[in-house]
Symmetry: C2
Subunit: 114 residues, 2 copies
């Protein structure tokens, strides 16, 4: 990686963190990389996340074009959240976090090191 | 990547985010991947980070064994911060954030897309 000393507002790392650096956001992405999910699915998987926080993070992800909400029932209205192509491009970031956790924090997980 | 549905306290992604998910932490790592740096160097590079926040993040990184403080002058005491081997293993995470930013947020940077 090239030496990075741009001002933060033009640094690709900082810009990425502006978009997905808030607490919970990458964990939502982690779940959605497995496929679309309902709000309730995410809320259960990511407990103890507060519904207001989950809602805020999903809204931000949608505003940034990383997630779309799709209705699969009109009445009653039911929606699922799905990653866009740009959202799926976050996989290497989640993958790098996963690999780091397995290697360095694996004693706290039930995962066997690869 | 395998389907991840472990409780958050045993998920490698969540554990990694617990350690390096706070605002500014990965930007400090970004800087230190280029080599050791003084507090003042980091403070200037990461402006407008507050000194108290920078200090708190460096302390947390040290507690987690990712950064060490090395004195290069006894009097007056002067120290540099350096990544440990475990800290340097964060490079793929920073690299993935960099690549994502270049590809998707490049219009906000002065970087040319690769």
């Amino acid at each position: 990686m090239a030496k990075v000393r741009r001002p933060l507002d033009r640094c690709p790392v900082a810009l990425s963190l502006d978009v997905i650096g808030e607490r919970w956001t990458l964990l939502i992405v982690r779940d959605l990389l497995d496929g679309p999910a309902r709000f309730q699915d995410l809320s259960e998987s990511l407990a103890p996340v507060a519904p207001s926080v989950l809602s805020s993070r999903l809204k931000r992800l949608a505003e940034n074009g990383l997630v779309v909400r799709e209705f699969y029932s009109d009445y009653p209205p039911r929606a699922k959240y799905r990653l866009t192509d740009a959202g799926r491009d976050l996989r290497p970031i989640v993958g790098a976090l996963y690999n780091y956790g397995r290697k360095h924090l694996g004693h706290r997980t039930d995962a066997q090191p690869t």
